[in-house]
C-alpha cells in the first residue's frame, strides 16, 4: 500500500486545507484526523482470511494527484430529467448538476453537497457519520475516503416520505493522473421509501495514465424504512476504483442492493450490511463482468445483531480473457441474533483459460438459534445443457451462448430502476461479450469448448 498511492497523496496539511475550503466544523475535522491516523496504521487488508487475496498490483497510482477542491458548473436553467426525483452529478472536480423535482423538494428531501448541507443542517451528516460508525474502522480504503474526501453528497428522505421516482447520483471521472476522493451519506427517516441509482462513468477526459475514484455509500435506515440501491460501475478501462458501502438498518428496515461492476481496471468494493434492529432485512444481488485484464475484488459482510433479521446475498461473476474475480463474503451471526435467516451465494463463470475466480464465502456463527445460516458457491463454464436447449429451439450456437451468459447476469440488470439505464447496461454487457469473443483465440472458449468436453458431468452442475 505504501507504494499504491504517492506518499504526499494524503497529508495532515492537505486534509486541513480541504476541510477549511469546505468550511467544515471542528467535529468533522476531528473525524478526518481520526481517519488519517487509521489510514496510516492499517494494512490494506486486516482480515487474515482475505489477506492473501488482495491483488491491486495492476493499479499504478504512484503519480496520481488528488483534486484539492470541487467547484460548481451547474446550469441554473437545468431541470431534473423526466422520471427522476433528484439528480446530483459530479464531473471530475465540479458539481455539474443538482436538481430536485418540485414534489421531491416539497417533501423535504435533501440531495446536496456536504458543503451546502453543513451550512443549514449539519445534523443530517453528523447523525450518520459521527464517531466513524458509518464506515468500517478496520478498512484502510474506507478511512482514506473518510480522511481525504474532497466532495461529499448527502441524500436524506424524511420520515414517512415515499418517493415514486429514483434519486440519481452520478460520478463522471477519468482524467488521467487525477484522483477524486468522495463520500456519500444517505439517511431515511422512519417509514420512508426511496430508490437510489448510483452511476460511476467516464467523463470523457483521458491522457493515458491511470485515474482513481474513491467513494463511499454510508447508509442509515430508520424504523420501517425501505431503500433500493442500484449501482452501476462502468468506468473507463484506465480507472481504478475503491468503494466502501456500509448500511446500518433499524427495526424492520429493508435494504435492497443491485450492483453491477462492468468497467474500470481494478475495482475494489466492500459492502457491510449491519442488521441492528429487530426484523431488519437486506437483499443483495451483485454482478461482475470482467474482460481483458480487469480485476474485481468484491467483498460483502453481513452482520446480524438484532433478532429475526434476514440476509440474502448473491454475487455472480463472469470472467473472460485474463480477467480475475475475487468474491469474498462473511456472514457473522452475533449471540444476540436469535432467529436469523442468512444466505450468501457466490457464483462464478469462467469463459477463458486465463480467467481466474476466487470465492471465499465464510461463516462465523455464535448463535445457533437460526432459521438458516448457509452459503453456497460454484464455479463452472457455460452450462452446456442450457446452450443445447436453446439450440434445440432454433437459436444459433453463438447466440445461445451469449444468451446463457447474459441471462446469468440479468437478475441484477432487471433491477436498475431507470428504464433507459437498464437498457444501456444490457447493450453494454452485450457489446462486452461480443468484443471479448472476437478477441479470444479460436478454440479457447465459446464454441471451441463444446468440442472438448472433459466429462459428461462437467456440464450439469455449472453455476445457475
Amino acid at each position: 500500500m505504501s507504494d499504491l498511492l504517492p506518499p504526499d497523496f494524503i497529508t495532515q496539511a492537505g486534509v486541513h486545507a480541504r476541510a477549511a475550503a469546505a468550511g467544515e466544523p471542528d467535529w468533522l475535522v476531528a473525524e478526518r484526523m481520526d481517519a488519517l491516523q487509521r489510514f496510516g496504521e492499517l494494512p490494506l487488508e486486516v482480515n487474515p482470511l482475505f489477506t492473501l487475496y488482495v491483488d491491486l498490483r495492476a493499479a499504478r497510482l504512484a503519480q496520481t494527484v488528488p483534486y484539492e477542491t470541487v467547484g460548481e458548473t451547474i446550469d441554473p436553467q437545468a431541470r431534473v430529467p423526466d422520471g427522476v426525483a433528484a439528480l446530483l452529478e459530479v464531473r471530475e472536480d465540479a458539481v455539474a448538476a443538482r436538481s430536485l423535482s418540485a414534489e421531491t423538494q416539497a417533501a423535504g428531501v435533501v440531495v446536496d453537497t456536504f458543503a451546502n448541507v453543513l451550512r443549514d443542517r449539519p445534523q443530517l451528516i453528523r447523525d450518520v457519520v459521527a464517531g466513524g460508525e458509518s464506515l468500517p474502522a478496520d478498512d484502510k480504503l474506507a478511512q482514506l475516503a473518510r480522511a481525504a474526501s474532497v466532495v461529499g453528497v448527502v441524500v436524506h428522505v424524511p420520515a414517512g416520505v415515499e418517493l415514486a421516482e429514483p434519486i440519481v447520483v452520478r460520478w463522471a471521472v477519468g482524467a488521467g493522473g487525477r484522483a477524486l476522493v468522495s463520500r456519500t451519506v444517505v439517511s431515511l427517516g422512519a417509514g420512508a421509501h426511496a430508490r437510489l441509482f448510483e452511476e460511476q462513468i467516464g467523463s470523457g477526459a483521458a491522457n493515458g495514465s491511470q485515474a482513481l475514484w474513491s467513494g463511499t455509500l454510508e447508509v442509515a435506515l430508520g424504523e420501517d424504512a425501505t431503500l433500493d440501491v442500484a449501482a452501476e460501475q462502468d468506468l473507463p478501462a484506465h480507472v481504478v476504483s475503491f468503494v466502501n458501502r456500509r448500511a446500518n438498518l433499524g427495526r424492520n428496515a429493508t435494504l435492497r442492493w443491485a450492483l453491477a461492476h462492468v468497467g474500470g481496471l481494478v475495482s475494489k468494493s466492500r459492502i457491510d450490511n449491519r442488521l441492528v434492529g429487530r426484523g431488519a432485512s437486506v437483499r443483495q444481488v451483485e454482478i461482475g463482468f470482467g474482460g481483458s485484464n480487469q480485476v474485481f475484488d468484491l467483498t460483502s459482510y453481513t452482520t446480524h445483531v438484532g433478532e429475526d433479521t434476514t440476509g440474502d446475498l448473491l454475487s455472480k461473476g463472469v470472467f473472460q480473457d485474463r480477467s480475475r474475480g475475487f468474491m469474498k463474503g462473511m456472514i457473522e451471526i452475533d449471540r444476540s441474533a436469535h432467529g436469523t435467516d442468512s444466505f450468501l451465494g457466490e457464483f462464478g463463470m469462467l469463459l477463458d483459460r486465463k480467467a481466474r475466480s476466487v470465492t471465499i464465502p465464510s461463516l462465523e456463527i455464535d448463535q445457533p438459534d437460526v432459521r438458516r445460516a448457509a452459503h453456497s458457491s460454484s464455479v463452472g463454464p457455460i452450462d452446456e445443457t442450457q446452450v443445447f436447449y436453446l439450440m434445440t429451439r432454433g437459436i444459433p450456437e453463438d447466440v445461445a451462448r451469449k444468451e446463457v451468459v447474459l441471462g446469468f447476469l440479468e437478475p441484477v440488470v432487471a433491477r436498475i430502476p431507470l428504464e433507459g439505464a437498464q437498457q444501456r447496461l444490457r447493450t453494454r454487457l452485450d457489446r462486452k461479450w461480443s468484443e471479448a469473443r472476437a478477441a479470444a483465440p479460436a478454440g479457447a472458449s465459446g464454441s471451441g469448448q463444446a468440442s472438448a468436453p472433459k466429462s459428461g458431468s462437467s456440464s450439469g452442475e455449472a453455476a445457475a
Binding site: P48, L49, Y53, R335, G348, L350, L351, D352, R353, K354, A355, R356, S357, V358, T359, I360, P361, S362, L363, E364, I365, D366, Q367, P368, D369, V370, R372, A373, A374, H375, S376, S377, S378, V379, G380, P381, S445, Q449, K454, S455, S457, S458, S459, E461, A462
Partner: protein, 468 residues
C-alpha cells in the same frame, strides 16, 4: 420444547481416563536447541543426511514466525517440552516381549488378543518410539513393509530417502519444521507395485508422560497399482499441563494406486494437536482421508491432497467435535495440478459447551488443470449458544472448464427432532445422541465395523458420558 442441552452433554470423559507410570530409558533435557536436535540424531545413530536435514529444519523452525490466522498457539511453551524419550531399548517382535506395564496400557486401550489375529498388523506407538509391531507373515511375503519410521530409515534407506520430505518439506510451516527437526516414531509403510493389502494396517498411537512431546512422522509409499488402507487411532490420558503433538504424515500414491488413511483421534483436553498431513496423488491414483477429531485443546489439521497426475481422485471426510475449552480448527485441502482430476470434501462439525469448531479449507485449480470436477460440503451443528462455528473455505479456480460446487450450513438440533424421538420412547439424552450420531454418519459408515462402534462410543462419551 426446551431441551436441557447443558445437562445432557456434560463432559465426563475424565472418569474413563487412565495413565501408567513408565520408566524411560533415555530422554533429552527439556527445551530445544541445535545440540538437542543433533543429540536425538546421535542417539538414533542416523545417517549424516538425516542429521543435516534435522538441523536445517531446526534453523527454519527458529526463523519461522508463529502463525497468526489461528489463535492460541502462543500458549505453547517450547522450553518445557522434552523432545525425545525412549521407553525401551529395542523394537519388540512379539507380544510376549513387550514390557508388562506397556502391555497393560495397551490392553486398557482395547487391543484384544483376537483383534491382533484378525487384523493385518499392529504398530503401537508408546511415546516417542515404536515399541511393538507384529506384521503377519502373509504381509511380509507380499513384500509389504510396515514398521516404525526409524526402523524404516535403517532397513530401507533407498526407498526412504527417495520419498522422505518430498511431500511435506520442513519449510512448509512452522510445525512441519519442528517435526522435521525432532521427529521420532510413526509408521513406515511400503506397498510394492500391484499388491493389494487385504486388511487395514493399524497403528495405535498414544501420548504418555507429562509434558512429553510427540513428534511422529509417518511415510506411506504405495507403488503403481497397489492398494492399502491405513488406520490410526489415538487416545491420551489427561494431564494438568499442556502437551504438544506435532506430527507429519506423508503419503505418496504412485500411478493408479489407492490409499485410504483413517484417523480416529481423541486427544486429552490439554493437548495441542498440530498436524501436517499431505498426500501426492499421481496419475489415476485415489487418495482418501477419513479424519475424525475429538478431544485436544486445539487441533489444527487440514489433510490435503495434491492431485499431480491426470485423472487422480481426492476424497476427504472430516468430522470434528469441539467441547468445552476446545477449538477444532480442521478442514481439508485439494490442490488440482493436473487435468481431469476430481475432489470431494465433506466436513461435519459439532460444537457444544462453549467449544469452537472451524472449517478451513482450500480448493485450488491451477492453470493447466483442465476438466476438474470438485465439490466441498460443510455442515455444522451447534448444540448451545455458548458455542461457535466458523466456515472459511478458499476456492481459487484458474481454469475455465472447472466444475466446482460448495455448500455450507450451520444449525442446531431442532426441537421437532427431539420431540419426535422422545415420543417414540427415547429419553432426551438418547434422542440427542441419536441425532448427533446420524449427523456424523457420513463419516461412521466409512469405517470398518469395529472402529465405527468405537467411534460412536467416543461420540457418546463426548456427548454425555452415559456409557453403560
Amino acid at each position: 420444547m426446551a431441551v436441557n442441552t447443558r445437562e445432557a452433554t456434560a463432559d465426563r470423559r475424565a472418569q474413563f481416563d487412565f495413565k501408567d507410570e513408565i520408566a524411560y530409558l533415555t530422554e533429552t533435557k527439556r527445551g530445544l536447541s541445535r545440540e538437542t536436535v543433533a543429540e536425538i540424531s546421535e542417539i538414533k545413530r542416523e545417517p549424516d543426511w538425516m542429521r543435516d536435514f534435522r538441523l536445517r529444519a531446526y534453523d527454519h523452525f527458529v526463523k519461522r514466525p508463529m502463525p497468526t490466522w489461528t489463535g492460541g498457539l502462543d500458549a505453547i511453551d517450547f522450553d518445557r517440552i522434552i523432545y525425545y524419550r525412549k521407553p525401551s531399548e529395542r523394537e519388540e517382535k512379539s507380544w510376549d516381549d513387550v514390557p508388562p506395564q506397556i502391555k497393560q496400557t495397551f490392553e486398557r486401550l482395547g487391543i484384544p488378543e483376537a483383534e491382533r489375529k484378525f487384523l493385518a498388523g499392529v504398530g503401537a506407538q508408546y511415546d516417542s518410539e515404536v515399541v511393538y509391531h507384529s506384521v503377519r507373515q502373509e504381509l511380509a511375503s507380499l513384500g509389504v513393509v510396515f514398521m516404525g519410521t526409524d526402523q524404516g530409515l535403517k532397513e530401507y534407506p533407498e526407498i526412504f530417502k527417495r520419498h522422505f520430505a518430498t511431500v511435506v518439506p520442513p519449510e512448509d510451516n512452522k510445525f512441519a519444521a519442528l517435526n522435521s527437526a525432532v521427529w521420532s516414531g510413526g509408521s513406515f509403510v511400503y506397498v510394492p507395485a500391484g499388491v493389494e493389502v487385504p486388511l487395514p494396517l493399524q497403528a495405535y498411537f498414544r501420548i504418555n508422560g507429562e509434558n512429553t512431546g510427540q513428534f511422529e512422522r509417518t511415510l506411506i509409499v504405495v507403488e503403481p497399482g497397489a492398494k492399502v488402507h491405513y488406520i490410526e487411532g489415538c487416545t491420551a490420558p489427561i494431564y494438568a499441563t499442556d502437551s504438544l503433538h506435532a506430527a507429519v504424515v506423508e503419503v505418496v500414491a504412485l500411478p493408479h494406486s489407492k490409499v485410504r488413511y483413517t484417523t480416529i483421534q481423541n486427544w486429552s483436553n490439554d493437548v495441542y494437536n498440530l498436524v501436517t498431513k499431505r498426500a501426492h496423488a499421481h496419475e489415476g491414483a485415489t487418495v482418501e482421508w477419513i479424519d475424525a477429531n475429538t478431544g485436544s485443546r486445539k487441533t489444527v489439521k487440514f489433510p490435503s491432497i495434491y492431485l499431480r497426475g491426470r485423472g487422480s481422485t481426492a476424497d476427504v471426510i472430516s468430522v470434528a467435535v469441539a467441547g468445552k475449552g476446545q477449538h477444532q480448527d480442521t478442514g481439508a485441502k485439494a490442490i488440482h495440478l493436473a487435468p481431469d482430476t476430481r475432489s470431494r470434501i465433506v466436513s461435519k462439525s459439532v460444537s457444544k459447551d462453549g467449544g469452537r469448531a472451524t472449517y478451513r479449507g482450500h480448493l485450488k485449480v491451477a492453470p493447466g488443470a483442465t476438466g476438474v470436477v470438485a465439490s466441498v460440503r460443510c455442515d455444522a451443528l451447534m448444540l448451545d449458544d455458548e458455542s461457535r462455528s466458523d466456515t472459511y473455505p478458499y476456492i481459487d479456480i484458474q481454469e475455465d472448464d472447472t466444475t466446482m460446487t460448495h455448500e455450507a450450513t450451520v444449525g442446531k438440533i431442532s426441537a421437532d427432532q427431539i420431540f419426535y424421538l422422545m415420543s417414540r420412547g427415547l429419553t432426551e439424552n438418547e434422542a440427542q445422541n441419536l441425532v448427533v450420531q446420524g449427523f456424523l454418519e457420513v463419516f461412521t459408515k466409512e469405517l470398518p465395523m469395529e472402529y465405527a462402534i468405537e467411534f460412536n462410543r467416543l461420540v457418546k462419551l463426548e456427548m454425555d458420558g452415559a456409557l453403560g
